[in-house]
């Protein structure tokens, strides 16, 4: 008989196992629809490799593992993929996540399987590959991908098979051991082969005598072959099925803080996982089904059911004749560590070992909690040897650093402390909250560090770019200067090109001015006229502005007055200059105007008479008038022409 040890703390809640462990496992018929979450294991979600509308066979790979810690997902039955949708996940958060929904066709047709007849011939790596491709995860509830757990590269001296099933109500492993003991032992042999034949200890609580007998019988079937497998019966105490607690019970060693069992040469696997490994390697079947307990007072047919992964809770509840009207709380998992689910469409996943349909008052209603009286019972109960009371204060005061200093991360969230608390303080919820906050604070710190690094790198890059640009510019300037110097050295007599260009421009300007100088008298006259007109307009405008300013009593009136005075002088000067030039040319604009008016008048008279002639009764008399008028027009035109011709003659003379 193997020596057993004890772990600190622990509690003895009512077991309530008898309700569900009396009847054999019932295979639940294939439901109409299956929903398979892509993430039903710890680690990265698998990636769907089927599309809506695809036909899949039972056991066909439908989502492949992504990255190191991940697991494959297979179709649990044949049928059509109807959708890839978001469904409520079986998770405390009740958040939804992507699921592959399969409408089963009832044929339950298997994909071609590759069973192994002589597993002894397989190498470690081949076994590991089979475990990995079958998508096996820990069946005890945590759902850690088994292939990852088994391929850690350290020497393993002990394989522990967790058959404790310490949580109240759950009997899935109990029934599994009673009915499939041979397969479990075969699975353990495969595990031993995979791990290099360590000794194996099966830890089982003494409240499962039938299962113990079944395992011993299975071992005795092949006595001699299994000398290094031992069934270790341990006292019933919650939570002896916790990985670290079971290791301490069976070996007396503690897993170091922050470490994993492999650090002390131990691997721990659940009995369900051993069975799944048997199915995967010997039968070639991937993990598509499991045993789930349906229990609670609201369940008429409480018992264990072999269900397909992806079965929706409501289908299983209907099959087990659960009266939902009597159900006060629907818990996935056990009463100590499980979580309440609201959506009955939530699918069952690889790690779902129990559905507890509790009737009224079967589970204590969430109590109003009282103040901590510092009785210290939680410390006595804590199986991880922590100080729950201290952790509670720190979590409540949000002093997460101190909580971590008190080994918050070693809390296994078993709920023993809350169970014993006379003030009914939901201690585990406080620890979960603190753990969650610590996790998010750490991830934020990591992101902040990344952001700081990227910010600093970017700043450095910008500075570098700027200096590089400046450097380049300087080099270019030096090169250009050198080229210039070389040019000058080659041709010392050549003048500076800029000075030469300036000189050219100046010369051109001067040429233009001199070219423009000899103007005809008409052009000069025109220029003078324009200048006079401009000054007149300016004067007019400024005068108006001045008037406005004066009316509004504006302060600028005085300066405007000055401008007006100046402009008046200028305008007079311009007018005088124009007059003088006119005089010089012998022009008389007023007379010219008069002559022009006379020409226009005579012209108008001629037109008028010609119009009258068209309708006249006596054209003869009118025609004479027209001739006279035309003559007058002729004279006026002549006079104007003479007048305009004068300046030219005046200049000539």
């Amino acid at each position: 008989m193997h020596k057993i040890w004890d772990f600190h703390g622990g509690v003895h809640p009512l077991e309530n196992k008898i309700q569900s462990n009396q009847l054999p496992i019932v295979v639940m018929p294939t439901p109409k629809q299956l929903a398979l979450p892509l993430s039903q294991h710890i680690g990265k979600a698998a990636k769907a490799i089927v599309e809506p509308g695809d036909y899949v066979l039972k056991g066909q790979l439908i989502a492949s593992a992504q990255g190191f810690v991940s697991a494959n997902i297979h179709a649990p039955s044949s049928g059509y993929v109807s959708a890839l949708v978001e469904r409520t996940l079986p998770h405390q958060s009740a958040l939804s996540g992507p699921c592959i929904v399969i409408d089963t066709d009832g044929k339950d047709q298997w994909v071609e399987l590759n069973p192994t007849t002589n597993p002894e011939s397989l190498s470690k790596q081949e076994l590991l590959n089979l475990v990995h491709s079958a998508g096996i995860t820990g069946m005890g509830g945590a759902s850690f991908p088994s292939a990852v757990k088994l391929q850690l590269k350290s020497d393993i001296h002990t394989l522990i098979i967790n058959a404790a099933e310490c949580e109240p109500y759950i009997t899935a492993d109990d029934r599994l051991m009673r009915e499939y003991a041979d397969q479990i032992i075969a699975g353990i042999l495969l595990l031993q082969q995979l791990l290099g034949h360590p000794k194996c200890l099966i830890g089982i609580e003494d409240n499962k005598p039938e299962a113990i007998a079944a395992l011993n019988l299975a071992l005795s079937h092949n006595l001699g072959q299994h000398t290094n497998i031992e069934v270790c019966v341990i006292p019933t105490k919650y939570p002896s099925g916790g990985e670290k607690q079971l290791i301490e019970i069976l070996t007396g060693h503690q897993v170091p803080h922050g470490g994993i069992p492999t650090n002390i040469g131990i691997v721990c696997q659940n009995v369900g996982t051993a069975k799944a490994i048997f199915d995967a390697i010997i039968k070639g079947q991937p993990l598509i089904k499991r045993i789930t307990t349906v229990t609670g007072k609201a369940a008429a047919n409480a018992g264990n059911y072999e269900v397909l992964i992806g079965t929706q809770v409501e289908d299983l509840l209907a099959f087990a004749k659960v009266d939902l009207t009597r159900t006060s709380r629907l818990v996935m998992g056990g009463p100590m560590m499980g979580f309440t689910i609201q959506d009955t469409q939530t699918p069952l996943v690889k790690g779902t070992n129990c559905i507890l349909a509790a009737a009224d008052l079967e589970l204590a209603p969430v109590p109003d909690h009282h103040a901590c009286i510092r009785c210290g019972q939680c410390e006595v109960a804590c199986p991880a040897d922590l100080l729950p009371q201290q952790l509670f204060w720190f979590a409540k005061a949000e002093e997460f650093e101190k909580a971590q200093d008190h080994n918050l991360s070693d809390c296994i969230e078993c709920g023993a402390c809350a169970w014993v608390c006379p003030s009914q303080i939901p201690l585990v919820q406080y620890y979960r909250y603190a753990k969650g906050r610590v996790k998010s604070i750490n991830s934020e710190a990591r992101l902040a560090e990344l952001a700081r690094h990227r910010f600093e790198t970017r700043e450095q890059r910008l500075v570098d770019e700027k200096t590089a640009k400046e450097e380049k510019r300087k080099i270019r300037a030096i090169a250009a200067a050198a080229v210039q110097a070389a040019k000058r050295a080659a041709n010392p007599t050549a003048e500076d090109p800029i000075a030469a260009a300036l000189a050219r421009v100046n010369q051109k300007k001067q040429e233009q001015q001199t070219a423009a100088a000899p103007q005809s008298p008409e052009e000069v006259y025109k220029a003078l006229k324009t200048a006079a007109a401009i000054t007149r307009t300016k004067l007019k405008k400024t005068t108006t502005a001045l008037a406005n300013a004066k009316a509004q009593d504006h302060e600028q009136a005085a300066s405007l007055q000055q401008t007006v005075d100046q402009l008046t002088v200028k305008a007079e000067a311009a007018q005088a200059e124009l007059k003088a030039y006119e005089a010089k040319l012998g022009l008389d604009p007023e007379k010219e105007k008069m002559l022009q008016v006379a020409v226009a008048k005579t012209n108008a008279a001629v037109r008028k008479l010609e119009k009258a002639l068209a309708t006249a009764e006596d054209p003869q008399a009118l025609e004479e008038d027209i001739t006279d008028a035309k003559a007058a027009h002729q004279i006026a035109t002549q006079a104007l022409a003479n007048h305009q011709a004068k300046p030219a003659s005046a200049q000539e003379s």
Partner: protein
């Protein structure tokens, strides 16, 4: 008299020797940079958003070390103010609303079919979290976006949205249980047990 001179000479020599040791130590064990600035910088959220009026978290850390108020960082919010107050041993003061209010963390999202590839947001991003090239569609590297908001304003076609980060089963965590208020409880069951 000779004793007096001897004493003066010995003291002077000692002063020179110790002075030399101190001087050497000051150079040999010189601390590069200002450690308090590093400590402050470590507490800031590194969003690099500039809401505090400084071009990044480190400049603000330097300003705090030089006496600026600790409540100018909206992304850090109360938590950061508390941590800074602890570090600097000053009183925690409420967030200065002039610099913004504490909001839930968001990340930038570029509506990719509307992006014209102008690269303006890339130049604005303080942490190089936007990927793209001229006349090519741009996209935000979600894991590296700090939600600083600086890329939204330069976008000429307004195709950048700030969206809150989704809670996933991985990022989700339990809330603190409701604080106990003795008077709010139903009196019957507990009252009875008290009498028992």
């Amino acid at each position: 008299m000779q004793t007096l001179y001897l004493a003066i000479v010995i003291l002077a020599l000692l002063a020179i020797v110790f002075g030399a040791i101190l001087g050497f130590a000051a150079i040999r064990f010189k601390v590069d940079g200002d450690p308090i600035v590093d400590q402050i910088d470590n507490l800031l959220p590194q969003t690099q958003c500039g809401q505090c009026g400084h071009p990044g978290c480190r400049p603000y850390a330097e300003a705090i070390a030089n006496g600026e108020a600790i409540n100018h960082c909206p992304p850090g919010g109360e938590t950061t103010i508390k941590a800074l107050a602890d570090l600097l041993d000053v009183e925690a003061i409420p967030l200065d609303a002039e610099h913004g209010t504490e909001a839930i963390r968001t990340i930038a999202y570029i509506r990719e079919d509307e992006c014209i590839g102008c690269t303006k947001c890339i130049q604005a991003c303080p942490v190089d979290a936007i990927l793209g090239a001229a006349k090519q569609m741009h996209t935000v590297i979600i894991d590296e976006c700090t939600g600083c908001d600086l890329c939204v304003e330069p976008c000429p076609v307004d195709c950048i949205d700030m969206i809150p980060i989704d809670v996933t089963p991985v990022s989700w965590h339990w809330q603190q249980p409701e604080q106990l208020i003795a008077t709010s409880s139903l009196p019957h069951s507990h009252g009875e047990s008290d009498h028992a």
